[in-house]
Symmetry: C2
Subunit: 287 residues, 2 copies
Amino acid sequence: MAQTEEQPEKHCWVCFATERDDRSAEWVSPCRCKGCTKWIHQSCLQRWLDEKQKGNNGGAVSCPQCGTEYHVVFPKMGPLVYFLQQVDRALSQASPFASVGVVVGTVYWSAVTYGAVTVMQVVGHKKGLYVMERADPLFLLMGLPTIPVVLVLGKMIRWEDYIVRLWQRYSYRRKLLPGNRYLPRVPADGPGSGDHLSVSRTLCGALIFPSIASLVGRLLFRQVSSNLQRTILGGIAFVLMKGVLKVYFKQQQYVMQANRQILNYPERNADRQHEGGDEDMEDSGNE
Amino acid sequence: MAQTEEQPEKHCWVCFATERDDRSAEWVSPCRCKGCTKWIHQSCLQRWLDEKQKGNNGGAVSCPQCGTEYHVVFPKMGPLVYFLQQVDRALSQASPFASVGVVVGTVYWSAVTYGAVTVMQVVGHKKGLYVMERADPLFLLMGLPTIPVVLVLGKMIRWEDYIVRLWQRYSYRRKLLPGNRYLPRVPADGPGSGDHLSVSRTLCGALIFPSIASLVGRLLFRQVSSNLQRTILGGIAFVLMKGVLKVYFKQQQYVMQANRQILNYPERNADRQHEGGDEDMEDSGNE
């Protein structure tokens, strides 16, 4: 044989068998490697490839020594298999987008439903149905889902914080006038710790607002006969009441922060227990 | 003063000012530290605490030297502030759960709607509405959302894979009989690469199935007058057709994998270009 003249003997770098061990085995030299890693049994390389690919049969695999990509040839299949392969690939690529569509559709449909329920809640059940049945369907499909969106956006306007800031600026100036030296400390981060916008709280607050407005309207404005007017009045009353309470609360939190005092460590007890024990104190403190 | 007898002079470990620099400043000894880090101005410690807490005013802060937690006292506020604080805390704790409820409600409501649309699609628009209007509302609210759930669960039963595996076992046994030595390789991970369950594909396939069943029913079983029967027949026909194609495709993929061949690296070209360049080859391969 020609190969045996070039090289002393083929041996497989996976199973270490030589040509003499199994004369019928199929040999392959799949990469640019020379010497002892040049030859490998076809069956050993297949097993090694299976191990490397771990079921992901599409991926390219290279020789770990020389980096040459193995040239793998598959038997030609018919046009039906090719067609099915293309369909399978197309479905796999399209399904994530379709899933996003399902999620968006779910959210959209819930927004439409929420909008319709809100309309019925605000103008009354029968009148709401009547209004929506007479309206343009396209207008409803566009308009109803904007109701929760507008509610959430409206909830994100934090006008109470603005008023708190205005108040603090004003009260600070007034305190400057009498000329007292000891100004209260101005807390670092403005009004209190509840300043950061909580997503879940904003969402829930916005979605429950029409129900609260309807409830407050029924409690406070019984004499108003129109459902719409009563709910709007209830909503305004609730927003104002909540705003006043929130401004008051934030201002009080601010005052609390501004007037905090850090107390002395109880000196006498400590001195009696550890007289002259400076080093002990520092040791125990560093633990 | 008693302090000046014990220690030579107070000085603040933040601003390094001594008692003589500002006789009116308030001093505090907030921790177990002795010596030069014992005393600090109240105002300096407040500034340092603000810096440490960075707006998170609730957190405890300790002395960086001895580890003693500072004892911070806030002025007593009225019962209204306490009440508002409790309400604020309760709302903050409840809002994540409420948000989860909103998400669950959204999914549930979409499932109800999907179920209703599917009923109307399967038994016909008018008859579907008639059936649902006469049914118990509680039964509808429980039954309709189970429709998409059952569809998805049904889609997760991969009976085609089972048939492919049966087929492969059968054909493997038959190939053993003739006594030929060269069995085709058995791919490592069973039938093909599309074996892993894709969430998005399962979901979309399950949700679109009633539409496909209705379409196939209308195309293949025009003579059937009942909407329900036609759609069921269409669904069965589609599942069977798809199953046969899928089994065929997976089997062909398996055969393709089993009969792959790894080719020799084009030996002669490489030899001519780099005669005796074993080391060069390995170097370039390792890049």
